[in-house]
Symmetry: C2
Subunit: 187 residues, 2 copies
């Protein structure tokens, strides 16, 4: 028998990103793990509507998604402890801009995506932003051949159940492959 927990969202661990927007002409960053994949080049970002970052996203209709590495855990977490309303976060990271000009990106993050806001959905607690990725930036040392190497990126995975940041672990199987033996058995 299973326990009923009530309507608990149990989608963890989830990738931790630093969402970036320009508010009052200053870059502002917030760690967010309430993210998702909406389409081939569209992602979702769910931010409680109290956040300062939202103002910049709605004003500019652009934002950035930056993937911090394990070594950046202190700075990443710090950005979630202070609000841009009272604390200037523009000097924490070296910032660069891409094609959109109003989506500040973090140089020291291995991966950056600049996004155009496609749609905002008003959820009961959060604003859900759908962003179309316009350009993706990766530092060469995090690539193996032509693909991004996540074992080099060392992303932070967020687990709300124990409020912890986790590493990505070991590869255990290939997708579209691990089930082949079973498929042969069944046919």
């Amino acid at each position: 028998m299973k326990e009923k927990l009530g309507p608990k969202l149990a989608m963890y661990p989830s990738l931790t990103v630093l969402a970036g927007s320009l508010v009052d002409k200053k870059p502002n960053f917030l760690p967010i793990a309430h993210v998702g994949i909406a389409d081939s080049s569209t992602l979702t970002l769910s931010l409680n509507r109290i956040h300062y970052t939202n103002l910049g996203i709605k004003h500019n209709k652009t934002f950035s998604v930056n993937i911090p590495s394990e070594a950046m855990v202190q700075k990443t977490d710090y950005c979630g402890l202070v609000s841009g309303k009272r604390t200037d976060k523009s000097d924490i990271f070296k910032v660069f801009y891409g094609e959109l000009e109003t989506a500040p990106m973090i140089e020291e993050c291995p991966i950056n995506m600049e996004c155009k806001l496609l749609l905002t959905l008003d959820m009961p607690d959060h604003e859900l932003f759908l962003g179309k990725v316009v350009q993706t930036y990766v530092a060469k040392e995090y690539m193996t051949g032509k693909a991004v190497d996540m074992t080099k990126v060392r992303p932070l995975l967020f687990n709300l159940w124990d409020r912890g940041y986790y590493q990505m672990g070991t590869k255990i199987a290939d997708a579209w492959s691990a089930g082949k033996e079973l498929k042969e058995k069944k046919t």
Copy 2:
């Protein structure tokens, strides 16, 4: 200098789930890692519109999200290798139903969520389903105290860059805590 990869969605690794729906009165399951968190109890599921599972979600306005454990990697991957259009997947798992009655859930998955369809967004390649979690089920052996213990669940994390399933790794820091020292320094 960073490399420009073009508009590449780089939101990996992402949690692998088995999405469940009832199509022609038969339970059908599909592994999906294009998932997300939309609000406190609302999740997203992005499915290419060619999939059979979509028919059941749209017809019943319900679906399930089941989190497989590492030990289920073969069966999970198998469900992605065969389509419900041609292959009956109703006998792969022991299935149970909850309050919604039309959202088939997988007994052997550590965690199950039954969801009501709130909204469907037509994306260029995918259908994006927003589902409100109605009830969450967890087997007792995957809990520590009153919280789900993801180190016992051993979820499958999907990495598109190398088409691999990965384990969740080691905990490296506490959220809303790792940045406290930096906060004190700055104030």
